[in-house]
């Protein structure tokens, strides 16, 4: 048996966007075990949520994540609405889906860039970021901000998208689809990209199931686990199927996310075609009382919000389980057996969001 040594990977590492430490037990260049250590960016958001008015917590929930922020506020609002028996207008539901899908697209494009950067393909990284800019500008023109949209509120949304803006959105989506078509041969069929992704970081469907993997990690193993299929917001009125692959490796996860980009373009177009007229919000009176679990599908997988109200304007407890937290056990199954050079790529293909995880 070769001599074992331990290499600390992170918390500060050029490839990691956020601080995550993995203690890698190595035999020569091969990883035999990975021990995770998180807790470097704990911000105490759940505690702060108890100090704020529940309406203000919408903005706080949005800041749990800097990438899929709108979906966090959406999850929180859906939970409070269910707790208070508030019926959200149909138009607000469609607008929520539109902004959710814009967030999914910019998240996947950022991920694509970072992963390309992890295996040393700087030009592809730049191309991904360039395409993402179109989405960010679209969000700024429709919601007023590039990332922290602040448009979701308990009872609906705070801002409407006029039908006169649909033409501009369609043009932007055409441009994004064109860019994706241009990148597709490189991401899906290029020799050097496939050499770094195919057969790397493989987990079986059984392992994904046992570790409770969510989102693209589970979908890449053949599980059609997508919470959007339950039909929350307006997803029940839209036509889509979860994207799945079966290989369970880094390449399969890339394929899933890349196909989801096209799916998001399609979902936004469906929303515009089916957008009902009517109000965008209903007034909400009173305070939440009781407890509820709210779930939605983020770009990284399913997020769970536990909300407990006590009849006052302050919540008694807010607990958040983010998809990255659910995917870390799956990551620990992917790493043993891989080469040290593949570790950054494998970590990035679960699309880790550590600030979310630690809240």
């Amino acid at each position: 048996m070769a001599k074992r040594s331990v290499i600390p990977f992170g918390p500060q590492h050029p490839v990691l966007p956020e601080p995550l430490q993995l203690k890698l037990v190595m035999e020569d260049e091969k990883v035999v075990e990975a021990i995770p250590a998180i807790g470097y960016v704990h911000r105490g958001l759940e505690r702060l949520a108890q100090e704020k008015d529940y309406q203000q917590v919408t903005y706080l929930a949005e800041r749990v994540c800097g990438i899929c922020s709108f979906i966090h506020s959406l999850t929180f609002c859906q939970g409070i609405e269910e707790l208070m028996n508030v019926t959200v207008p149909d138009r607000a539901k469609f607008l929520r889906v539109m902004w959710s899908e814009m967030h999914r697209m910019h998240s996947h494009l950022l991920w694509l860039g970072l992963t390309a950067d992890a295996f040393g393909f700087e030009s592809l990284f730049m191309q991904g970021m360039r395409t993402r800019e179109t989405i960010l500008q679209l969000m700024e023109s429709t919601a007023g901000a590039r990332i922290m949209l602040g448009t979701c509120t308990v009872g609906g949304v705070r801002r409407d998208i006029e039908s006169s803006a649909f033409g501009e959105i369609n043009t932007a989506l055409d441009s994004v689809a064109r860019d994706l078509d241009q990148m597709a041969p490189t991401i899906l069929n290029d020799y050097s990209v496939r050499e770094r992704l195919v057969g790397v970081g493989t987990i079986t469907a059984q392992q994904a199931f046992e570790t409770g993997a969510v989102g693209p990690v589970a979908k890449a193993c053949g599980f059609a686990r997508d919470f959007r299929t339950t039909g929350y917001a307006a997803y029940g009125q839209l036509d889509f199927k979860p994207v799945t692959e079966t290989a369970g490796d880094c390449f399969a996860r890339t394929q899933v996310r890349f196909a989801e980009l096209y799916q998001s373009v399609d979902l936004i177009r469906q929303c515009m075609a089916k957008m009902p007229a009517g109000p965008i919000a209903v007034p909400v009176k009173g305070n939440p009382d009781g407890e509820i679990i709210a779930r939605t599908e983020q770009p990284r997988g399913e997020v769970i919000y536990y909300i407990k109200g006590n009849g006052t304007k302050n919540l008694e407890r807010l607990r958040i389980r983010t998809p990255t937290f659910a995917n870390i056990p799956a990551l620990l199954k992917m790493l043993p057996g891989c080469q040290l050079t593949d570790v950054p790529v494998i970590i990035l293909t679960i699309d880790p969001c550590i600030s979310c995880t630690e809240r």
Partner: protein, 98 residues
């Protein structure tokens, strides 16, 4: 499986206009409706303090005597919750980013 698949993209990027601007020499035109930064029309303000109570990040400080309205721009999260709450509609969002 192919090689050099990115050459087309690279060629197009070389021959097309730059995707970036030479900021700050070429500033971006503000997008209409963007929540750039908060501004106040002090003549209309009645210093009621509702905006201060609503602010999720405690960025506003309002006093009735003497009449002061202070914004801490580093705390402000530009959510415009105060703009919606203002009874005199003296708060507004300027689309230009500071």
């Amino acid at each position: 499986m192919r090689i050099f698949t990115f050459v087309n993209n690279v060629w197009q990027n070389i021959t097309s206009r730059p995707a970036t601007r030479l900021y700050p020499f070429t500033p971006r035109t503000p997008i209409a409706g963007a929540r750039g930064h908060l501004q106040i029309d002090a003549d209309t303000c009645i210093y009621c303090g509702i905006c201060q109570k609503r602010c999720p990040s405690n960025a506003l400080a309002v006093t009735r005597e003497p009449k002061t309205w202070t914004l801490d721009p580093y705390k402000c999260i530009v959510c415009s919750y105060c703009v919606e709450a203002c009874p005199k509609k003296c708060l507004s969002m300027n689309p230009a980013h500071k």
